[in-house]
């Protein structure tokens, strides 16, 4: 039977590095770019007898994440040792949380604009929020580099605060997984808890996926996918996995629990370890760290919950009258949202401001490889002034696009100055325009008569001729008003 006849069940485990200054259990600096093994100490090197201490900011950021995602918090939260033997983890155990994580339950809303572009028009579960199991706080491992004959290890990354966000098996397609990752990233950035860039390894994702034929059957064998470095790779890997498993199931080959490694260049996955090799982590409570009472931290963090992207989006619709879609794109990035809000506040036509930000400004920034927060050429108030000039009829939209905006980008000057310098002001002076209109009416009596007899549409032909006479500088809105007045 075809893949579409199987019920697909997907759960995601997302690791996000937190934006703290120091590591989770020691004071070593967190961050990239330092010489290898220069940001290390006995704690993060796993020296016997070294004592870990909890980083308060990491705990706060995890609790804040829980608040943004509607989680609950166990009254007491504690840390445990997860034992395994691997060279990037020098203690031979990872300090993580087992039975009392900082956050439980909650959900991640799937924003429409976070789905892949090609499916945004046809979302099977619009407005769905994927349920979460838990969020716990642990530490990152060192960085291994594999060479032909050996492996080298840099422990600068070891001990970086890492938040693990575990979803319920509540995702059905690769597209939902894609939307989940993008929506989650936007929320984490809005809260300032993680930079959450998958391509930079600040956010990583493992996928669990199983297939079965009916809802009545228990979940199929769980296949874990690793080495997924972007939301697009997650989507591709899930498609591949659904095809592979359904083809095998059709052929009568049952699936066996295992972990597979995705190769995004080859577009295929291969078995990495079987169930027999599954780790036996032998968790036990960490004796060197004391438990945390969550209530006071939750109370303190409530004040820091930011306006979330979907809340901001709703406000943009209400306050500025932009479309739901435009609002969701404008609110998807903190800096873009701030820019738009500044430009739209007090503008004569806020929808037009949204169009200019989303089309002209964003494509200009893209061409110059500039992020909106780093761009200085067109400050928000200058864009507002440009749109106001169009709206009040001083310049046409065409002039703004072809002449004024490019000059603003190039020189950083205001729209008003450029219009003056270039002599672009449209003729709205009715005296001059009336003369043009009289001339055109005289020269086109047949059309004029048609308008007089009630066919107002025919006046458009006359507007064109007035525009020609004014060498394109007349304001068409003003022209049509004069013509209709004269031809009443």
């Amino acid at each position: 039977m075809p893949a579409s006849d199987y019920i697909v069940t997907i759960g995601l485990e997302v690791h996000a590095q937190l934006t703290t200054q120091s590591k989770m259990y020691c004071g070593c600096k967190v961050g990239y770019g330092a010489p290898p093994n220069s940001q290390t100490c006995p704690v993060c090197l796993g020296m016997p007898g070294a004592m870990p201490t909890l980083n308060e900011a990491a705990i706060e950021k995890t609790v804040l994440t829980g608040l943004m995602l509607g989680c609950e918090n166990p009254e007491i939260s504690k840390w445990d040792r997860k034992n395994y033997f691997y060279p990037d983890m020098p203690k031979n155990y990872q300090l993580t949380q087992f039975d009392l994580p900082l956050c439980e339950h909650g959900s991640v809303p799937l924003y429409d604009h976070c789905y892949p572009k090609d499916v945004q028009k046809d979302i099977p579960r619009p407005g769905y929020a994927v349920k979460l199991t838990r969020i716990h706080l642990e530490e990152d491992v060192g960085k291994s580099t594999h060479h032909e004959k050996n492996t080298t290890i840099d422990f600068n990354r070891a001990g970086t605060p890492l938040m693990e966000i575990v979803s319920d098996p509540d995702i059905r397609t690769g597209e939902e997984a894609f939307a989940y990752l993008n929506s989650l990233r936007q929320i984490l950035i809005a809260g300032g808890v993680s930079d959450a860039d998958m391509e930079k390894g600040q956010m990583r994702c493992d996928v669990n996926i199983s297939l079965r034929k009916t809802e009545e059957e228990p979940l199929g064998a769980k296949i874990e996918l690793k080495n997924l470095n972007s939301p697009a790779a997650v989507r591709r890997a899930i498609h591949y996995e659904i095809d592979r498993q359904s083809t095998e199931l059709d052929a009568g080959t049952p699936q066996v629990q295992c972990t597979r490694r995705w190769d995004d260049d080859l577009g295929e996955s291969t078995v990495m370890r079987s169930k027999e090799d599954a780790h036996d982590y032998r968790y036990f409570p960490e004796p060197d760290l004391l438990p945390i009472r969550t209530a006071p931290i939750v109370e303190a963090m409530k004040k820091l919950v930011p306006e979330l992207p979907h809340e901001k989006s709703q406000r943009f619709v209400t306050d500025f009258g932009v479309t739901e879609y435009d609002a969701s794109v404008l609110s998807s990035d903190k800096h873009l949202a701030t820019y738009f809000e500044q430009a739209a506040t007090g503008a004569k036509n806020t929808k037009l401001v949204a169009n200019w930000v989303l089309n002209d400004l964003l494509s200009a920034l893209k061409e110059s490889f500039t992020e909106i927060q780093d761009s200085t050429q067109v400050p928000a108030e200058n864009l507002r002034a440009l749109v106001d000039l169009i709206e009040s009829g001083k310049i046409s939209g065409k002039q703004a696009k072809n002449d004024v905006f490019p000059a603003m980008l190039e020189t950083g000057k205001t729209a008003g100055d450029i219009v003056k310098e270039k002599g672009l002001e449209q003729v709205s002076d009715t005296g001059a325009l009336e003369a043009f209109c009289d001339q055109v009416i005289q020269e086109n009596e047949a059309i004029a008569a048609d308008v007089r007899s009630g066919n107002e549409k025919a006046a458009n032909a006359l507007v064109g001729r007035v525009m020609k006479l004014s060498k394109g500088q007349a304001n068409p809105k003003v022209v049509i008003g004069i013509l209709l007045e004269k031809l009443k």
């Binding site: 290898p36 940001q39 090197l45 201490t53 900011a57 033997f85 060479h147 050996n150 004391l290 009472r293």
Partner: protein, 98 residues
């Protein structure tokens, strides 16, 4: 060797998890010693703990945290001083690819 006390300890499995290779003789010796440790700790099972509140930690203390401030690290030379094998600035280990 004295007969080891009864337990479900599988010394080969434990050694495998720790990536330690044992000779038969070592397995016998260490297995016996571990069995003794486990049976010693197992005496705790005889205690009646019904009616005692479970705790997350043996010490009745909570909320011991530190501020998120950077402290000096120990430096590359000290970090690598104990490395059994190293390159100029990294630990060198047998090739591990999962």
């Amino acid at each position: 060797m004295a007969a080891a006390p009864e337990s479900d300890l599988d010394i080969r499995y434990v050694a495998d998890l720790a990536r330690i290779t044992l000779t038969d003789e070592e397995a016998d010796t260490l297995g016996g010693q571990l069995e003794k440790i486990i049976s010693y700790v197992k005496q705790l099972e005889a205690l009646d703990v019904s009616g005692i509140e479970p705790t997350a930690h043996a010490t009745p203390l909570f909320d011991i945290v530190r501020e998120d401030t950077v402290k000096p690290s120990i430096g590359v030379d000290a970090t690598l001083a104990n490395a059994p094998q190293k390159t100029t600035d990294q630990f060198l280990v047998t090739k591990v690819v999962e």
